[in-house]
Amino acid sequence: MADEAPGMLDALMDFVVRYLPDDVRDLESELEDRLHKVPNQVNEFGFDPYGLSLEAARRMFLPTALMYRFYFRVEHRDIDRVPEGRVMLIANHAGQLPFDGAMLTMAMLLDADPPRICRSMGEYFLPRLPWLGTAMARGGAMVGTPENCVHMLDNEECVLAFPEGARGMNKPYTERYRLQRMGLGFMRLALETSTPIVPVAIVGSDDQQPGIANFEALGRRLGLPALPITLGFPLLGPLGMLPLPVKYHIYFGEPMVFAGDSADDDVTIQQNVDAVKETIEAMLARGVHERKGIFT
């Protein structure tokens, strides 16, 4: 695929991988093996109807998988609680850049049995950014419109959503491990499609990039949902985007099944959302309490 720019990156990746230690190559073949175990709708050209490519995903996920195993050293508990078939993973969101989503995706792919490809519901502005929108699609993500979410659940996929959105991801350090307001959309969609919700608490992301301030208004001007100032960013430039090597702990809760009318008023829906939020909060509090330090 030398006919497109990402192809050059792929070739470079292949070159790098060839000269990497065995650990890395083992991880790559593990990724490939796991990716092909996931049921898919990939056509003769290697793409599913939503732009997912197993080949591209394998290449893109390698750095992510390396971070999962060797950088964040992710540990998880009760991953077998995620049921087969349609399911929504609802997690807390933090850390300025969505490494939490990436790590949860890796956990589901590398350590869940059978492996799943998380279908992440992304921000609407992401496809506007060159390469990023394409990368999203190739890895199985898409803009988080209600229609897309329903498609995915009807296809019995595993949907990953962070109902706090940018409110959670770009909150300052003083707010760490405090859940922000969650949108109600995910609950309506879960009711509409009778989808079990697995609450997920991610411990670690709140410490990876301590936020000092968020110049939201300026960020909006630049077409971004936030413009966080962290210890390293923008002081150290792109290098400042690198997260601290904190240790990640991911806790999976019991699946929660809600019944009711998806068109109910906000107050009723809010009660269900609060139930999910409280479950995540409790798991999060326990997780923070149990760990010995942010790097262990």
């Binding site: 006919d3 056509n43 793409f47 939503y50 732009g51 992401l126 496809p127 060159p130 929108g133 803009v143």
Partner: protein, 305 residues
């Protein structure tokens, strides 16, 4: 034998549809140019849809069915002419259908009317908003045509009206924008963007139109083909070489070239190379029992055969 009148009969798609229907219907058509070498029995009236003479054609031919695909889709003519032919022509045609006892009408719209936007959900159904003119004002006349036809559908239920919105139609005969684009050897793309695109072969599209006439459908339908691939894969499979160009260079350059008449599409068309418009064709497949004959590979290769 029932009679079908096709507007735009001399165009690539019009010819294919005429040939498809000739065994079962008496076929006549109107177009702004004659169809040289047309099959025997097909009558072509060279007339402009906006002229008085067009009504005379309908009055004398008295067709049972009308297929309306006589639109100007290119940008070589000025905006006023495009508007006159597309919007006012459609308006007049609809009136003629009411006054001259037409029993069924098929209007060829396109999935382009939904518009290409980053926030587009995948596989939109027919109820999705028609937003094309938000980013691509030059085709607002085609959006208006779709809206006119849809309103007509509800207003005159005794005339069986079908609005078809096919995905990218490609093939040897059809001169679609995307077909011409894919026919190039070196194809400029927007660097960093590679949206999913759906395609349908011109023969399959002709079949879909024929079914709509035969089955006397009523409603608005997306028409989808054998599948979808990212743009760069489509370019490669149809034998081209993609040349990705950064948008900040490409957009102003194309705008200038378009202004000077050196490039056939306005810069709004670029969004169709950046963001996906994917539609669900389920409703039509159910209502018409339609399945495309050509595989995705055959469809993509057909731009050159």
């Amino acid at each position: 034998m029932e009679k079908v009148l096709i507007t735009g009969i001399a165009g690539g798609q019009g010819r294919l549809v005429a040939k498809r229907l000739i065994d079962r219907y008496e076929v006549c058509g109107v177009d702004r140019v004659d169809w040289a070498g047309r099959p025997e029995g097909v009558k072509v009236h060279v007339v402009d849809l906006t002229r008085k003479k067009f009504e005379d054609v309908i009055r004398t031919e008295l067709p049972d069915h009308v297929i309306h695909m006589g639109f100007i889709r290119h940008f070589r003519s000025d905006e006023q002419t495009r508007y006159d032919v597309n919007v006012r022509g459609t308006r007049k045609l609809l009136d003629h259908c009411v006054h001259h006892g037409v029993r069924s009408l098929v209007v060829m719209s396109s999935s382009y009317v939904y518009g290409a936007f980053p926030e587009n959900p995948y596989y939109m159904d027919e109820d999705s908003p028609l937003s094309a003119s938000r980013s691509y004002p030059e085709i607002r006349d085609l959006v208006e045509v779709d809206a006119l036809a849809t309103a007509f559908l509800w207003r005159y239920p005794h005339i069986r009206t079908t609005v078809l919105r096919p995905v990218n139609v490609i093939g040897y005969y059809v001169h679609s924008m995307i077909g011409q684009y894919l026919r190039e050897r070196r194809v400029p793309t927007v660097m960093g963007f590679d949206p999913m695109m759906q395609f349908i072969h011109e023969d399959d599209c002709a079949t879909a139109i024929a079914i709509a006439v035969e089955r006397q459908l009523q409603g608005v339908f997306n028409v989808t083909g054998p599948g979808e691939v990212p743009l760069h894969t489509a370019i490669r499979e149809s034998g081209g070489i993609a040349i990705p160009v950064p948008e900040f260079l490409l957009r102003p350059a194309l705008a200038r070239l378009f202004d000077f008449g050196l490039f056939p599409y306005p810069p709004g068309a670029l969004d169709y190379l950046k963001y996906p418009i994917t539609v669900s064709g389920e409703r039509f497949m159910d209502a018409a029992n339609f399945q495309p004959d050509h595989s995705l590979r055959e469809t993509l290769e057909s731009v050159h055969i």
